[in-house]
Subunit: 472 residues, 2 copies
């Protein structure tokens, strides 16, 4: 049985005239509830306490590692300590790779150490390392057009700088060099590939991130130079010098390990089978403490659910917080979740993942059945009060829920300000001091509003419409 809720007449009022519309008592009550929840969430340090706890007590947690195992234990204990109704974990087989050392230096015409890191999944160099000349390209596209004779037995340097952008739009055009660089360089006979870090900073922290091989192309070592070191190497090459590098990387595969998606729920009091899913990923890269990626997300969604319970009581639909395993190595946990829960995907009212750091949210995009967008006006109004404007209805929902819309699952993207996210993303410098507690609380409030509104209404967002754009 479902309670009659608050949206019936709202669609009749235009947004601009809303204050002039006659509100039903339910509408006023809902707006007041949302305002009360938002205020509490803005004031609460819970999200920050959660990410602090994760980064201080666990720290790095690359999939399948000892740190990952500790993170799973931590997550279960955290959900239990916060009083979630149901806490459980679901096994996921994850790839376990370790970075090992990654050293590089210029040995001619000058002598300089270069700060590099291995790309995630890279093979090691041969024992003793590689010593050979380097050849520079300004993009993957340029590399693909190159003559093999120019590249044979050399190290390819893909020197493409990522541009800063609030929405992170600089990432896509550059990250292709990270994912495909080793394949394209190997096709042309290269010994290794080094890319300029996919990051917007000026620093000596190199940015890792997963890369790919192709079964029919030789696997060559792949690393990233820090932006500062890429500048230095570029300066030598721009001056027309033949530059020789010595590179050694000791990355290693350790086979498949068992990790877990860890799940905490507040069970719906009226429609427990209907699920509002908010998620983040529990794994991180190994060099930082995974504060922005994705400790912040873990804090935000965990804090949001708990604050709803504290302030508003038991939700009517189930609020499910999913902390996914092994996002970084190809959304492994999310794929397993989707496979395992296929039969109940049609019960998901909305899914949303927080995985873009800790910057303030400035926009909500949806992927709802069109009528539901109109019905969700009170949510948009409450979000507008904390600086979040309504965007389009072509949302992607975040990496770990990105495969759900094709099963008709509605998703929401709460877009975060990512202006500085890629200064720290996938580096040793992804640590708690980069998390602004105030911005994090605003995120917590936005997720609380989303989850509460969707859990305590009868709005049916299903089925998600087909996506016609690639907007995330």
């Amino acid at each position: 049985m479902k309670a009659a809720l608050f949206y019936p007449t709202l669609a009749l009022c235009s947004a601009l005239l809303l204050s002039a519309c006659t509100s039903t008592p339910q509408q006023s009550a809902v707006s007041a509830d949302l305002a009360r929840l938002s205020d509490s969430a803005l004031k609460s340090e819970l999200a920050y306490d959660v990410v602090k706890s994760l980064t201080v007590e666990v720290g790095p947690r690359i999939a399948g590692s000892e740190g990952d195992k500790r993170a799973v234990v931590w997550a279960e204990e955290k959900f239990k300590a916060l009083g979630f109704d149901k806490v459980y974990k679901e096994p996921v087989r994850v790839r376990n790779w370790s970075r090992g050392i990654a050293d590089a230096k210029v040995i001619a015409p000058y002598q300089q150490k270069l700060f590099i890191t291995a790309l995630g999944g890279s093979v090691a160099t041969p024992e003793g390392g590689l010593i050979t000349q380097v050849v520079m390209f300004d993009s993957l596209a340029s590399l693909k057009k190159a003559d093999a004779a120019q590249i044979h037995d050399k190290i390819v340097f893909i020197n493409q700088r990522m541009q800063r952008d609030r929405a992170g739009k600089g990432y896509g055009p550059v990250v292709i060099g990270r994912s495909q660089g080793a394949i394209e360089a190997a096709k042309l006979g290269a010994k290794a590939v080094l890319i300029r870090s996919v990051g917007t900073d000026n620093s000596r922290f190199a940015h890792t991130g997963v890369m790919q091989y192709s079964d029919d192309v030789e696997k060559i070592p792949a690393g990233a130079l820090s932006n500062a070191d890429a500048d230095n190497l570029q300066a030598m090459l721009d001056a027309g010098k033949d530059v020789t590098l010595a590179v050694e990387m000791r990355a290693k595969e350790h086979g498949w390990q068992t990790s877990y998606n860890v799940i905490g729920e507040f069970t719906g009091s009226e429609s427990p089978e209907e699920i509002v899913l908010i998620g983040a990923h529990l794994d991180s890269w190994d060099e930082g403490t995974g504060a922005l990626d994705d400790g912040a997300g873990v804090g935000i969604v965990t804090g949001a659910a708990k604050i709803i319970k504290n302030v508003m009581g038991q939700p009517k639909r189930t609020i499910r917080v999913v902390l996914y395993a092994s996002e970084e190595f190809g959304l492994t946990g999310a794929q397993e979740y989707t496979r395992k829960h296929k039969a109940e995907l049609s019960n998901i009212i909305v899914a949303a993942e927080s995985d873009f750091g800790a910057g303030e949210i400035y926009q909500i995009d949806t992927l709802f059945a069109p009528a539901a967008v109109e019905q969700a006006k009170p949510l948009f109004e409450a979000l507008a009060n904390i600086g979040v404007t309504q965007g389009h209805n072509q949302a992607g929902g975040g990496p770990d829920v990105s495969m759900l819309p094709k099963y008709g699952v509605p998703v929401v993207s709460l877009l975060q300000d990512g202006t500085y996210y890629f200064d720290y993303h996938h580096t040793a410098n992804d640590t708690l001091d980069k998390v602004d507690p105030k911005a994090l609380a605003q995120n917590q409030a936005a997720y609380a509003l989303l989850a509460y509104f969707m859990a305590n209404s009868e709005i049916d967002t299903r089925p998600a419409p087909a996506k016609t754009t690639n907007s995330h």
Copy 2:
């Protein structure tokens, strides 16, 4: 013989009424010359090209190292290539220390790697490292008051945060913990000391810098934690946990080596024995490429001298550019310079060192015989046009010339904006990308104005008055 120059009537005009004063033809000519020089220096990329050349072609150059030897060769070649009249080097015996690895991790109650670096001059840990509990103090002063029983056989953690300030005023109160921490901790029986980095950044780069031992106190290893790692350790300790660290450092002394002060001059056409000395230090720490500290200074003073020659021709007094050896390990090169040149110190009209990064200059302080301050008004006016205001007459002149005033040598401090200097100072992150070419050119212009004005006037700044404050 000296030419009659431009200051005779200037002292009669107040600064405010200057434009109303009747200028002599010489005064107008001087102002026009200074403006022309300043414009050229602001537009010239020479200082930037010099620091780029040094950081790309040489890079790290800790005193006595192979990098330092390459830097000496580089400096001689650079002076010659730029057409300095006299290029020579003077040997300096320097301490040669190497950092080796510096690893630290928390092994209980959690398991986390900590990013540290050895302080300059530290001894190594015993083979295999140290494993022991850590005890935290908020300052050196608190450590000095502590009970030895609390510290015996432990690692002392001095957790004092440096405050950001344009003039770098946050440095002094905190750096005392870096220089004296090992002595005070050892007196109380500590096994090692780790300080929170003396830096204003939030990052995982730890800041090195020279530290001291006392002959009558045991020498214990001394390192610095990055600010991010100090935060992490502090969070564990603030939560009341007993925290155990494993620390290994392999720093080493290599005895004394020969390095050089490298000197380039444009010889005075009328009073070659009178010297305008502008300097910087050639050595750097070993982790960064020494761009801000002190490649920027090398670029600024070298560029300034060369641009004077290019734009204004041969100076009347000698302009001497001194690139000092081993500033970081205790001003070794500057002390040797002072000793060796003692007989001619009375010929130095003014000395100034650029050693505070690459931020814009906002103030000029002098230490001149009082009458000379008034006579230098055209210089102050020209500097005002590029944003530099006149300060006090109690200047220190910069580290490598700081010992000269006691011999009566007048000095000038051109104060740079150091707001961000201590984000990078003494870290691996001190690289060329931190140097803003536009700000660097403004520095070049200020040094060019100073050196040209002092070299082409008859103003006698000597003897420097006694200093009554500690202003630098």
